[in-house]
């Protein structure tokens, strides 16, 4: 309540985070309503489509397991292609969620509250899609468990901790676990809300069990807030470390175009960039679909667009630096690698990447454009495409022409490559649809926390 005094001036600086005249109960009602209302027809249509695509993905994976990695276009020298491209793409998407929920939390960015729940969900589902690829890209998936240090009595074999790929295993699995915990902790109070509003016995039982008997006692809130703060504090370095380590897969190698010291920051920026783009894509759709315009305001979207503008420019700067260093280093292999990227057989991929990632976000310098819903939607899609291409460019164009020209080659995807990737999009959408159907897609209790207190006495709290 310390900041009550300075609320009026603040209000002039900052537009309200919740528009329309909402009270606690109306917020509760608006959000819970989505879950309690009868399922709309469109939802069934949507999920049956995305479900079908998911099934196709499973089919593709089955086909892959039966025949081997050869059903993809991967070859020698291009040992990694769409598989790892998709992996990095999805991991990158994931990062926005953690960033919004953790880093913005530490920076006391209150506007995060109405988008962090959905963003974290997105993180989880993106990580789920990402985790798929390290598992299925190996030649003998039934031996994938050898990547974990499970005590083995017969072989007496362990892992090689010098391998960035192994670091990845630890980083990504940790990231997945922690994000899940963080998300669930955030859900507890809202699950309790749903439990208390539940009419039917089943809902009571399900949400009753899920909410673990949360009752919002002040003594519980105290530990709760501490836990939330700690998790935020842990997730912040974690999220940075994850994409740093992912970038190590390349930076630690010796392949020109991979062996680059700026990868960690460059990858993290790119991850945030792509993640925010995905959040915007989703939010634009769902705030419209569920009439959440009051809670997810144009202000929220604008803020995210500003972040995209910033990170997009950083990424563009990174591209420029790469080229400069390649030229400046005087290393013939390095020089060639980047010349080949920009003018070689994959020039089209490189320039798609540049125009989508560097040029398109520049429009957000204009307030009008960054507050224009259809426009930002289109741009966010472009950015998603561009960031996929960034990973493709880094992985494939570096591999297909390295040191010895005799072993140079060219990569062409097969239909299995394509369908598997499209499949993950379906898988992601399916998970997200299930989420918005059965769980509160906005953090109710947190939003209440940042609302001006209702009238009864003038004394609200922050």
């Amino acid at each position: 309540m310390a900041d009550l005094a300075i609320k009026p001036p603040l209000a002039e600086l900052n537009p309200p985070l919740v528009e329309g005249n909402h009270s606690y109960s109306t917020v509760t009602h608006t959000v819970s309503g989505i879950v309690e209302r009868k399922t709309p027809k469109q939802w069934f249509i949507a999920i049956s489509i995305s479900g079908a695509i998911t099934l196709m993905m499973l089919g593709m994976i089955g086909y892959l397991f039966l025949n081997g990695v050869g059903v993809w276009g991967n070859n020698s020298p291009v040992g990694w292609a769409w598989d790892i491209t998709n992996f990095v793409f999805w991991i990158g998407i994931g990062h926005a969620g953690t960033l919004i929920s953790a880093i913005l939390f530490l920076f006391r960015q209150k506007w995060r509250t109405s988008i962090n729940r959905a963003a974290e969900a997105m993180t989880l589902f993106a990580v789920a899609c990402a985790l798929l690829f390290p598992l299925i890209h190996v030649g003998r998936p039934w031996r994938a468990y050898w990547m974990f240090p499970i005590p083995n009595t017969d072989l007496n074999m362990w892992q090689n901790f010098r391998s960035p790929l192994l670091w990845d295993v630890f980083a990504v699995s940790t990231y997945g676990t922690v994000s899940a915990l963080f998300w669930y902790v955030g859900l507890l109070p809202d699950l309790a809300t749903l439990r208390d509003r539940a009419r039917t016995r089943i809902r009571q039982l399900v949400y009753g069990v899920l909410s673990l008997g949360w009752r919002g006692s002040a003594r519980a809130w105290r530990h709760y807030e501490m836990a939330y703060l700690i998790l935020a504090g842990l997730s912040t370095p974690l999220v940075l470390s994850v994409h740093t380590i992912v970038s190590f897969d390349f930076a630690v190698s010796i392949i020109p175009g991979w062996h680059t010291t700026i990868f960690p920051p460059y990858f993290v920026a790119g991850a945030i960039f792509s993640g925010f783009a995905m959040v915007v894509t989703l939010m634009v759709i769902f705030r419209y679909a569920f009439q959440l315009e009051d809670l997810v305001t144009i202000k929220h979207l604008e803020n995210m667009n500003i972040v995209m503008l910033a990170t997009g420019s950083i990424v563009g700067y990174a591209y420029a630096t790469e080229l400069f260093i390649a030229w400046y280093s005087g290393n013939m292999y390095e020089k060639f690698a980047f010349l080949n990227r920009t003018t070689g057989p994959y020039w089209w991929a490189y320039w798609t990447m540049v125009s989508c990632n560097v040029i398109s976000p520049q429009f957000f310098w204009f307030k009008k454009l960054r507050r224009n819903i259809p426009f930002m939607f289109v741009i966010s899609i472009f950015v998603n495409i561009g960031m996929w291409f960034e990973r493709f460019v880094i992985i494939v164009t570096s591999l297909h022409r390295d040191f010895l020209p005799s072993s140079w080659g060219y990569f062409r995807p097969t239909f299995v490559d394509v369908c598997t990737f499209i499949g993950t999009l379906g898988f992601f959408t399916t998970l997200f649809l299930l989420f918005v159907r059965f769980l509160p897609m906005i953090a109710i209790s947190e939003v209440k926390g940042v609302m001006p207190a209702p009238g009864a006495s003038e004394r609200g709290q922050h």
């Binding site: 070859n75 020698s76 013939m332 010895l404």
Partner: protein, 971 residues
Amino acid sequence: MDLVQISNQKKPTGAGKHYWRSVNELDGTAKLEGWLDQEFPAGPVNDSSRRQVLKLMGASFGLAGLVACRRPEEKIMPLSKGVEDLVPGKPLLYNSVFVHAGAAAGVRVTTHDGRPTKIEGNPDHPYSEGKATGLAQGALLNLYDPDRSKQVSEKGNESSWEKFGAFAKTHFDGVGNGDGLRFLSQRVVSPTLTSVREQALKKWPGAKWVEWEPVNNDNALAGAQLAFGNVVEAHYHLDQADVIVALDSDFLNLDSPTVLPARQFTRKRKVTEPGDAIARLYAVESQFSATGATADHRLRLRAGAIAAFTADLAALVGVGESKTLSGEKERKFLAALAKDLKANEGRSVVVAGPRQPAEVHALAHAINQTLGNCGKTVTFTQALAEPMLDGLKALAADLSGGKVSTLVMLGGNPAHDAPADLDLAGGIGKAQTSIHLAHNANETSALATWHLPEAHYLESWGDARALDGTVSIQQPMILPLYGGRSALEVVAQLAGLPSAKGHDLVRGFWQGQWPAADRERVWRKALHDGVVANTKFAEAKVTAKAPAAGAKAPGTGYDVAFHPSSSLWDGRYANNAWMQETPEPMSKLVWDNAAMVSPATLKALGATQGDVISITVGGKSIEAPVMVQPGHADQAISISLGYGRKNAGRVGDGVGVNAYPIRTTAGLHIAEAQVAKTAKTHKLVTTQEHFRMEDRPIIREATTAQYKEDPKFAEKMSEMPPIDSIYGYHSYEQGYQWGMAIDLNACTGCNACLVACQAENNVPTVGKAQVSRGREMHWIRLDRYYTGTGDEAQSVSQPMTCQQCETAPCESVCPVAATTHSPEGLNDMAYNRCIGTRYCANNCPYKVRRFNFLNWHKEDEEVQSLVHNPNVTVRMRGIMEKCTYCVQRIQEKKIQAKVEGRREIKDGEIVTACQQTCPADAIVFGNIKDPGSRVAKLRHQERNYELLAELNTKPRTTYLAKLRNPNPELA
């Protein structure tokens, strides 16, 4: 006997699978035949796919597998009787002989429990010296070809040897003095068969015996006839020559024999000190050959113009009157060449290739004589045989004239590969009875009344002469898998000789040649050594006449030159997957042949690579995809024979283009053709797609002069920034430290090492579609780079295999430690630990790691797995594999030394498969810590360099820079 035994080809269990017979049992008694049959394979079973299933089950079962914990029963089936010198699991070596292009090359065959698994050269044979060509080694796979004919058949219906025997008895008693009887065989170089032939012809005086090989040395023989008045064989001693001129001759790769010339030549090219002199090679040729690539000076001249060039050269060195048929460029070349030759009288040699007409050979002989080379760098002996084309013409005439009632074809595929204008296919139909003996039921078998399965040379007794007359006994290692018989046996049977058993015939014949006293000893020695003592021909003293009338100038059309395929030869190896996937040395083309043209010609044709062109010779035409060969002569096309088979089998059918239809008696080697571009295109697949070095110091080269003044040139070619490891380095001081040195100055890019590795390490083949995806599996590849302009290109070749880096980038990145370093400096690869992330391959700067993208053994039949080396794991899909310096050979020798109580392994005791077979001795393996070892000595030469040393990978394989010895006047 269950399949696992066969599938993994190890844990030899005595009589595991009985294809086996020890030498002295081979004249097998009925009883032995008996137990052979009973232990014969029940029939092909697709084993690898079965293994696949087990693997998947093993994966999915989890605990279930544990509860039902007892394994599937595995049987051990010992021999019912012990067999002399068979120690289960110990390989047995036999000397035998491989006949190629009408001459013998001694081979040493490794057998594991009765399965021949590897062919190497016989060290005691003059034309092998322990080395073998890719073809000689690859021919092994034909033994296990599942498409080999397994049945005697009459008019396409199943029959049997018994039925055929009965038929033959009556039929051949009925041919009277044999007026209507004709024999058509491949080149006969077997003394025994020759004697049997004589007996047959004595029985049927009216009969005729014709020989035919589509790739033959008629021109050379005719050339000798022209020059000396009688048919003699020229033997070149390249190790005696300082200046060598190859006139359309590819003695390093294509022209047989190649092993001996390659050895002689490279011996003359080796250097130990910067000052050392090396031979100088001039090549004048149409297509870009391995020899041309090695040459110090190369003149590209369309095949038809070489005759004129030779005439001019002859004139310049004082043979015949002077003509000037050649152009400006040629004259400059000629002047310098002639000068160089004159300056090296008695130490030079001119070699004409088999595709050049008799006149060119005659001129070459005359030049050599004038230069006083005869008796020094070239000697002569009697020839093994006469030219064969005329005989075939006569036979064709008789056939079409209906003079032939019975035609016996022993091996070969005449209906397919005889000159088109003779229409033998049509002729064969005219003979009332035609009998065809062949490995596979091929195009000819389809036309014959009787088809008889022929035994592989590893399955049958025989003997053969080398070009110098040396005789080797051909002894089988394995009883015929499909009950085939050899030509020798069939002829003997037809002629009604007392015994038609190969062993009796061969042994009987030779026993007759030797004094009764020590027959047995000589016989055993001959078998043991692989050569029969004192069978060399005596040197023939001949003098060349003044050359015949001058050569004519080339025509105005395109020259099309036919040459054998370096992989399929004349087509007989078309169903051999190893050979199909062995890249053509210059273009790296696999699973196809193409019309090779120069960049200029391609432009002239208005075509791009892969466009199909039609080549018309005398009204007949074929369509072939066109491919650019830098350095090829303009207005000329080279196309290799042996492709486009219709009845080769599952591997060879419909692969490539059949060039025989435009090959006529008039233009058997070089013909004038009309060429036109068609609308069609065809996908050509190569194992290498980029042939420029991009100014990277990959293959380092200098002239001998440059080397002399700057011995360290090779190292200086890459600026090496001082980089270091943050960890410091692991020390490799203890025990053996294996390393390899490859002398680029010796390597001719002949592929012998590649095939040797394939056989030794069970390297799978993947097929055209997969190669096009860059998934070929060769552990050692020969990188080919072109320098200079597209037209006047020079070319260099570099064997590339795992460099066994001390700070291996591949090892650090493997998450499961499947690839680690051995204390002896080997980059170990544990297939059974590999999960297939492919990270190691990505991080390998040499890109020598190979990944099993799919199960390459899916379609294998059981018999195909018999070729596997039991000492090397057969890799399943999803696994990374690579060269291990033949670690199985290292372990074998180490164990042997231990058991013999030796502390040290001698230098050269361990040889890798590639090193073992390299005709040029370009690859040397050994202990680099032993200063006395050959590898250590080579590494201490100044031209030694580490490839990509700037990456600090510390490779154990190093290269010795290439040297050329150009003529200053042409520089």
